[in-house]
């Protein structure tokens, strides 16, 4: 003990000196020899449920995406200039448990050919009946798919999901749907072992939602061998999978709640990858640039971050005020000092990667004089006290809030930043009690109307959090949601974008880049529209 204490004191004495020396003395040491077949990643999420059609935590989604295949998936192609990395492109798909598909009735019916010889872990084969059960369940059990299926592919009756024979499954939509294949490619459509699930159903719980919460029932490249909440999730390669064995036999996802720890672990190569919602803030990613033995993969993404202005609340019911706010946003300070280059200025509410994005219309730029003039025009009494709500645990939002606060105070606001936990934030937002808040949104389906309908349709009370009401916009959305003519559809989307930008519905902030930091020997990472990693393709270079 004595020895311990003495060395402890000695080391503590050296603390200041070491700290002062800073990164100069940082000397990463190779960690203990890693098992070459195991990938160790750190993140900050638990699995809340394994039910594919339910809303899930990030941990739940990523796990499902790796242990349960769907009928089809988004195809990935190499990222130019980043050898060894891949990303999805709009409108391109790969067969998964469906080996092929075709359209009938001018695209109103989708016919899937079930891959032969694939078996669930129970030994039962994957058939068209498994497909039907899984889609029936999605349509009828509470969760995400129940909302999405009727809206995006116009299926309201389970009879529209049809088994033609053991290996042919068809979806009969009301009409052609531009988003149909994207909808089928969602990880929520994992194909389930119907008999297995049915065996755990009851009259109270006809879709076995309780059982599926904790029990996986599909087949994928990996299987879940350990789920210890708060500690780790372990995935192992599925024996006799329909594709060749993945390069990494084991995936260990360690729960590391503290971001500083995740950075340290990465620097010391105790882990190979940081995963998760963002996992690392841009500032920390920046600090890892040029770190020997590490590499950073970043690609532009579709995640939108915006300043929500509640139009039911004064003074944001006033167009001039909303425009003034847009001119007051110090985006030129936020991009380098909050995002450190890992993001891009938002020019339109429709992300730059989404078809029909209108990048050259928005007049807004940082111009305090202009903003002040608009505030005078608005004739509101200043100072205006206002709460700016942000979520706990979102460092970029917190940082942006500080920069924005200062500028808004210059044009007559008195801003009080309020940090709320995720749940509180959402509840207050839905009730319409946020006046000003920093919101974010990512569309899993990279389609302008999926995006616009959630965010600007006045009937979307839970996601149109600016409470924006414009009948013209509503009508444009209705008319074009399922419009087969791509040019017409895109033109309508651009028209909506113009209206929404003119109306200054959002304070335009930024689009995030999708960023992963990993040890230099990793490659094969794939970025799909939903941002959930599939570890199947990850390998050592």
């Amino acid at each position: 003990m004595n020895l311990d204490r003495r060395s402890f004191l000695k080391v503590t004495g050296g603390a200041a000196a070491l700290l002062a020396a800073g990164p100069a003395v940082v000397r990463p040491r190779p960690s203990e020899a890693q098992d070459p077949n195991t990938l160790v990643a750190a993140w900050d999420s638990d699995i809340d449920t394994l039910d594919p059609s339910a809303f899930k935590s990030n941990g739940g989604y990523v796990t499902i995406a790796n242990i349960c295949d769907g009928p089809i998936g988004w195809k990935v192609r190499p990222i130019e200039g980043r050898p060894g990395f891949f990303r999805s492109r709009p409108g391109e798909f790969d067969g998964m448990l469906a080996e092929s598909w075709k359209e009938e009735d001018d695209g109103a019916t989708l016919v899937f050919r079930v891959r032969r010889g694939v078996k669930f872990p129970s030994g039962r084969p994957v058939t068209a009946h498994s497909f039907k059960y899984s889609f029936d369940r999605g349509l009828q059990s509470p969760g995400y798919m129940k909302l999405i299926i009727p809206r995006l592919i116009q299926v309201t009756d389970p009879a529209q999901f049809e088994v033609r024979d053991d290996s042919t499954f068809a979806i009969k939509m009301k009409a052609y749907g531009p988003m149909a294949l994207d909808t089928v490619a969602l990880s929520n459509n994992a194909i389930l072992d119907a008999d297995e699930v049915k065996a755990h159903a009851s009259t109270d719980d006809p879709w076995a939602a309780e059982w599926l919460k904790r029990n996986p029932a599909g087949v994928g490249p990996y299987r879940l061998v350990k789920n210890e909440p708060g500690v780790e999730i372990v995935l192992e390669a599925t024996p006799n999978y329909w594709r060749p064995k993945p390069p990494f036999e084991r995936i260990v996802l360690k729960l590391v709640p503290n971001e500083a720890d995740r950075v340290l672990l990465l620097k010391r190569k105790a882990i190979q990858l940081v995963s998760g919602r963002p996992g690392l803030s841009p500032k920390n990613v920046k600090s890892l640039e040029g770190e020997p033995g590490l590499k950073i993969l970043q690609v532009p993404d579709t995640t939108c971050h915006y300043l929500g202005m509640n139009q039911k609340k004064a003074p944001f019911d006033n167009l001039s005020v909303r425009r003034a706010v847009n001119y007051a946003i110090p985006i030129q300070a936020i991009l380098p000092n909050v995002l450190y280059g890992y993001g891009a200025q938002m020019k339109s509410p429709v992300p730059s990667l989404t078809p029909s994005h209108l990048g050259d219309y928005s007049p807004y730029r940082h111009d305090i004089a202009r903003a002040k003039a608009l505030m005078t025009e608005a004739a509101v009494k200043t100072p205006i006290p206002v709460d700016l709500a942000i979520r706990v645990g979102w460092p970029t939002h917190e940082q942006a809030a500080v920069w924005i606060q200062r500028e808004l105070e210059q044009i007559g606001f008195k801003v009080n930043i309020v940090k709320e936990s995720d749940a509180t934030f959402r509840q207050v937002a839905i009730k319409g009690d946020h006046a000003l808040s920093i919101e974010s949104w990512q569309s899993w389906i990279n389609d302008p109307f999926y995006h616009l309908s959630f965010l600007f349709d006045s009937r979307q009370k839970f996601t149109n959090l600016s409470f924006y009401v414009n009948e013209k916009v509503d009508k444009l959305i209705d008319d074009n949601m399922h419009e087969p003519n791509v040019a017409k559809r895109n033109a309508a989307s651009q028209e909506i974008q113009k209206i929404v930008i003119d109306d200054a519905v959002w304070g335009l902030l930024w689009y995030d880049n999708w960023v992963r930091v990993m040890t230099a020997d990793l490659s094969g990472l794939e970025k799909r529209w939903d941002t959930f990693e599939r570890y199947y393709s990850v390998r050592r270079a």
């Binding site: 002062a20 940082v26 503290n258 340290l264 600090s287 000092n337 706990v392 500080v402 606060q405 940090k419």
Partner: protein, 272 residues
């Protein structure tokens, strides 16, 4: 004696910190809350003695301004706890019987929770406005004073001068507040000094788990917690200095509290 030198140093430190906090607008070289895009993440140097943070705000200025928040929260919480505790304790100790029972059961219930856990629960439930943080800390401190005063009261009550006052015909309330209470003060003052330090630490820990004082108001714990993510990238000053500020302040309060204990109430020496 060295013990005294140390205590005097600590007292000096407290006075200095209070002085700096009061004079913050005069002393702080920069606006503590104004982000400066050109000045972000400057290492300590001539322009910024303690460096700047990711917003380019001067750390020294923020630490000085933060002293106001930290001291005020600690002082308000302690004062609130002290007053409530004294009244409850005096009543319980002097009246005894049912009042005593009710008060003591209440106190027991509060004491059934480790202080920080209760403060955490209350701030989470009530929302982390500064006032709620103060109330949460105050509630967790009430039992100490209540019990201290009550037991002192029991002791003092039996003493002769209480007897004397009673025979002279003083009214009960007068007896409690003018004759007995002042005699209970020494241990309470010691406790209050120590509680100041404890309150500052509680605020810091609450900030670390995301429940402390709201940004961008500077508070030492929140500053250190924020700086935690930047040590690894070499920006150690954001983490180190606010932590040191906490350490020095709490250390000073504890040392002074210790010495006061030795001075005012030798009986209490060494009791936590």
């Amino acid at each position: 004696m060295r013990r005294n030198t140390l205590s005097l140093l600590a007292l000096g430190a407290i006075l200095t910190i209070i002085g700096l906090a009061l004079a913050a607008p005069l002393v702080a070289p920069y606006d503590p809350d104004a982000p400066q895009a050109e000045e972000t993440l400057q290492a300590p140097g001539w322009r910024h003695w303690l460096g700047t943070d990711i917003y380019g705000r001067d750390q020294l200025s923020r630490i000085v301004w933060a002293a106001r928040v930290d001291l005020l929260v600690a002082l308000a919480a302690t004062a609130m706890a002290l007053t409530t505790g004294c009244v409850l304790g005096a009543l319980a100790g002097y009246r005894g019987g049912l009042v005593d029972q009710v008060v003591m059961r209440l106190v027991d219930t509060i004491m059934a929770f480790p202080a920080f856990i209760l403060a955490m629960g209350i701030t989470a439930a009530a929302g982390n406005a500064t006032a709620n943080v103060v109330v949460a800390i105050a509630i967790t401190h009430v039992p100490i004073y209540t019990r201290l005063i009550r037991s002192e009261m029991l002791r003092v009550r039996e003493m002769e001068y209480a007897e004397a006052a009673r025979t002279v015909g003083n009214r009960q309330r007068r007896i409690i507040f003018f004759h007995l209470l002042p005699n209970c003060f020494p241990p309470v003052i010691v406790q209050a000094t120590l509680a100041m330090g404890f309150a500052i630490l509680t605020v810091a820990a609450l900030s670390f788990i995301g429940l402390g004082i709201q940004p961008p108001q500077s508070e030492w714990g929140a500053m250190a917690a924020e700086g935690a993510s930047y040590i690894v990238s070499g920006e150690w000053w954001i983490f180190l200095f606010p932590g040191l500020a906490i350490m020095v302040t709490v250390l000073a309060f504890n040392l002074v509290g210790d010495s006061l204990r030795d001075l005012l109430d030798p009986r209490m020496r060494g009791v936590a």
